[in-house]
Symmetry: D3
Subunit: 283 residues, 6 copies
């Protein structure tokens, strides 16, 4: 590409930068799209760029595959019931170590490799995520649900110029620890921060009316259309918690929620800094 | 250009943004490159973009052609001696009206059309530019030279998020007004602000060893090479005050000074946000 | 006058200073009372003094006679319809140049001659005055009416110790410029700033029941008495927009509005720092 | 006096206000000039006015006559040796009660009657004046000399808009209390505050070459001339500690020290806000 | 006591410190418990400690016995009617001198002996306590009642790390001074500061159902039980204004009011930093 | 213990609180003294108490035993050479997970159980610890040495009221991670923070001239005596890096360094809040 075209592209990014500057965007970075180091680099580059142009970026990450793989090394099987990991005390220790110690700090490290300032937090720090045992049909051990979000430590980080990276581990009243679904965690944090946008980086192109056919991708989805899609059985599997989180986020005041394909290079810039976007926007 | 390329271009701008973010850049916007409305739009777009990504932009403008044209309407001839306008009291009034009232506020207006915040100032405001009658061989009337720069009002503007746009009209000890060469004005302001960079938007491609041949453009010029160029008679005419200003600016602590072609679309982004740049960088 | 009397006068100014200290006063300085340099000096001296004792001074100026005189030099006639200047594009340029470039910066310069700090602004700066084409019976070109006042740039100036001097030129949604009646402009700014007082410096002694007879000056006028005066046909000509502005200002929360004779030396101090005042106070 | 003259006087005070605005002036208000209630009113009025126009006023007061009078009521004689009060423990209690409890708070009360904000302090508050027993030829009991001045509490008061009124009672290392000469106290506080001016309100016209003849008043006195005056025996009695304090204050960085006649109505304004002044200025 | 026990005691104080940290506690230090120097030392030590661990301490003091004793030295009798001192002008002077000059500054001095920072104030300073003549059956001279409390000067002191010590002398509209009951004064200040707690240091163990029998001490008293105690005639004499003040304080938003025995060493720590407390807590 | 003794103990802690209030103390909490949950509770209680009374507490922790135990579960042996763990990439991952994910966040959690505010950090966060590969005789893999400490993120945490808890994992220039000796880490952080004190919580009573005989404990050790002790072979084994760190810390400006027995209940309070202390103080 020649220089003039480069300059033109940069120049045309102005309205997008102006649109998001000073706003808060919470990004869920799923474990399933963290495996490819090159793609990871694209995501991190974009996060640092967005922070750099004045957007308040908050990252919530998952890490399921890394937990499963470490459990396997310890000869422990991963058991999932309705998409939730059965979490006994030993598993909880591994969840904590892998998420808060490894995945989290590795992301912080990568952000700093790209010249950003970052801080790795979890729900324990500053009592950020207060939780209790999740009320489920089956006892899944230390699977919890968030009761309250204390945003002080996140806001301090943002004001001081850091990108906070947050693991979905929470603490109970008596200091007991809980494994929280990262999607829910993301929407709760977005709502508490009164964020403008919520973005899920996933391993699908977005919401599709036929999950086997990418051409059925729905670009925009109004809140009121979702009920019908549920009825028509168009929302299934792992997409359910994501869409539920999007809906609840919007009902809590978030302006729009985006489900996009984290496997596309620079998917964040494509979604936010171009007219059409690449995934599904719910508003 | 397809979306992926756009995203790639944006992503690759990160190191440049990081390089200039939080730094001060003083830009001389010459009257000779303000005539084409479309080019003017490109320049303003780039200024707003640069401010938006965290660069402290200060604009000093000229406006010679507009002064001459207004004088003509008043049936007054423009007289230049050694490149300086002969400025009797009546001319000084026109200089003041055209620069501070028209060219200045029109630039402010344009910046706001592009979504930026701007304020139009001259050397009178906040006693910013203190001057005295220039000591020249001939008496040119109210042609002055700067004695002192008070940066308070500029710094206030920057801190509050505005792009200050400055006319090169200064005030003397007793309130008499002076017409100041805008190039000199620019370097004095840059030096007083301890700016990192100084950029001259001109109507030539940069410093050329043969002014008739653009292919002789010198991309980089070290301070120590300039003396030799003067000796070899390679620097002539209107380029002399620009290069002199660049040299003095660098000697006052400015890191690099750039002379670029304001007629090239997005010349500012091309110079700062790409590896090679398009004009001459003196350092 | 001997020293003891001087001291006594100063000492007795205390309650007046205490009354206005920390309050905001918006002063309309009309073009008709700017012609005498000595009187101008008195006004400026008083403005700087008032700022100095802690009053937040904001000056809005007119400049009609200067515009007409410059138009004449350009062989263009001034046309007024119902007291409003017919403003085609060429006239608008002159309005802008004369007000923002000459009258405005000359006032700033004078304030600094008296040791004050000042900044010259117009409605374009910081998008201060948002306007649209005035809805009038006849098309008067670029005559506008204010839609919104953004006080940020005025408040910044006050907080940093400057006296903002404001030209009544405003900008439209798309950057088109408008000529605004300076009286209306003054009251809109006073209302937006939640000023305590509004003062019109005019070339008449104040509101008079018989305009030919200064002894019929009305010192105080309650809002409720004005309707009757209109009915009795006692308010006429150029006094109408001033009184209308005063009434609207008071209805917007300004405590009192004063119409005083700018031709009386130190009229501002006489009005504010003595028991009786010299003009008409509306409250 | 007619209104126009009043306005003229006020207008002409501008350069004086500009000269002292933002500066710190420490004023010693001697007990001997506190007896006439009307004169006291003039002094307080002027203090509040000066504070009101932006001067940082600090008052240090004496109160010898009031101490003596209260001691007399308790059937205790006042004994003076070399101008210093013999201060046994019982006397110290009375000094403390009369100065800190009565004279001090009465001044604060008066200042508030005139619409000022004031706070009554002594050297005990905030450990402001650290002292030790004075090393004198004779043991005078609790007569002390200042070892250190902690300005924090004074500066806090000034910043919050109060006029601090200070009694010359100090505390020793172990909490023992000392009676300090108020003149010395004043200069030490002025020096610690890096005050611009120091003013002694006394019951004489100023420094006179012949104390019996007011016409021998010396208006200005340079530091270097004082040694000669001492040699010529022109400085005597109660003037000695005052002049010594002035000299030391100036050597500590105070710009000028003034000895003026507190019995003249509005003496402070006369000294500071007129060309000639009324007493003696040492610089 | 051995070191391990000391450490255990300190460690166990944590929940109490956490309970009161950042809260405001107003303490009435009565003149009757100021006589024993050793006990005074314990009280001061505890005040400084409490301030040191982050509690905002405000002290209001009495001083009746010292006033009476000084009046006696002046051959003036103390006359009390219904527990209030008959206060003619001469007595008012003595009240002012003894409270503001002696008792107040001596407490400040003691606090500084223990390493605290303190400032001695009365109702005159910063116009803190606005009062009028009390409406009583008999004319008691300058006995006043509080009309308004201006907390600015108290809050400034707290924020700057000082313990304000306050004498119960107030000022009227015209600067006349009033002697205020210190108990009432304390509750008014507590209410104005929205204090969390109010503590009366008295010379009795607390509220007793039989004042002659300490074993009838009531540890906790709910607001609703007090009416009944009044009816049963269990509250008498000097306890009446204290309980009335407690009740009004709680009705004004203070969380709990405590009446404790100032003659018990470290009574403040015993009341606040132990489970049971030593006096009566009303809530 | 009865209440009066409790109050006495608390009261007597005042001078110690005053001594450390507002100062920074860096505490190395070694893995060897973290095993007993009850002792851990005592340490945490004391940390929160110290923070609560205004001491800026920073905790650096080890965790060797937990690393070894987790490696064992993964069937990996721990290899130590000269007291340093051989750290290949797989081991580094475990070090990171166990320290940053488990030990660190568990300490944060405990602090919050005791009512404190805490944040868990490592050298990656905010690029806090910049390191390079340690230059050792043998290649030990990712064992690093600190090149630079960026204190911004620690200072932010302290100012916002948090106890920062820090894992000794650092990052290299290119994002590679290093295992750092926690003792060295502690002293480097203490030096960078210009801390007043450095405390090592160890599993020995302190420095003993005969390590087998606790009665040979040296209570105080001057810097100049240490060289002699080395010569006399009195400092051995694990004590060497601790004493070296103490010496270097003091040479960098830390006032005193303490080696104390973390197995003694409330050892921190015993060392800091009593006259004698329990371990060895080096100064």
């Amino acid at each position: 590409m020649d220089h003039n075209e480069v300059a033109k592209v940069l120049a045309e990014s102005l309205p997008y930068i102006q649109k998001y500057r000073g706003k808060t965007i919470v990004i869920k970075y799923g474990g399933s799209v963290m495996k490819d180091e090159k793609l990871k680099g694209y995501v991190i580059n974009d996060l640092v760029l967005m922070k750099c142009v004045g957007i308040n970026i908050v990252v919530v990450h998952g890490g399921g595959p890394f937990i499963s793989s470490h459990l396997k090394k310890l000869n422990k099987k991963s058991i999932f019931i309705d998409g939730l990991r059965y979490t006994d005390n030993e598993t909880m220790d591994v969840v904590q170590m892998v998420l808060c110690g490894k995945v989290n700090k590795d992301l912080v490290n990568l952000i700093e490799n790209y010249g950003g300032k970052s801080i790795g937090l979890c729900g324990i720090d500053g009592n950020m995520l207060e939780a209790k045992k999740a009320s489920l049909k089956m006892d899944l051990g230390n699977v919890g649900e968030i009761v309250n979000v204390n945003t002080e430590i996140i806001n301090n980080s943002i004001e001081n110029g850091y990108i906070p990276v947050i693991s979905s581990v929470a603490r109970g009243n008596n200091g007991e620890l809980y494994n929280i679904n990262a999607d829910t965690c993301t929407f709760r944090i977005a709502a508490a921060l009164k964020a403008q946008n919520l973005i899920f980086l996933t391993d699908v192109p977005g919401v599709m009316t036929d999950v086997r056919d990418p051409s059925t991708l729905v670009s925009e989805l109004k809140l009121q259309d979702i009920a019908k899609m549920y009825k028509d059985n168009m929302i299934k599997g792992g997409m359910i918690p994501k869409i539920t989180s999007c809906v609840e986020a919007i009902e809590s005041g978030v302006k729009s929620a985006h489900i996009i394909d984290g496997r596309v290079p620079h998917c964040l810039l494509l979604e936010l800094f171009s007219k059409k976007g690449i995934g599904t926007m719910i508003y």
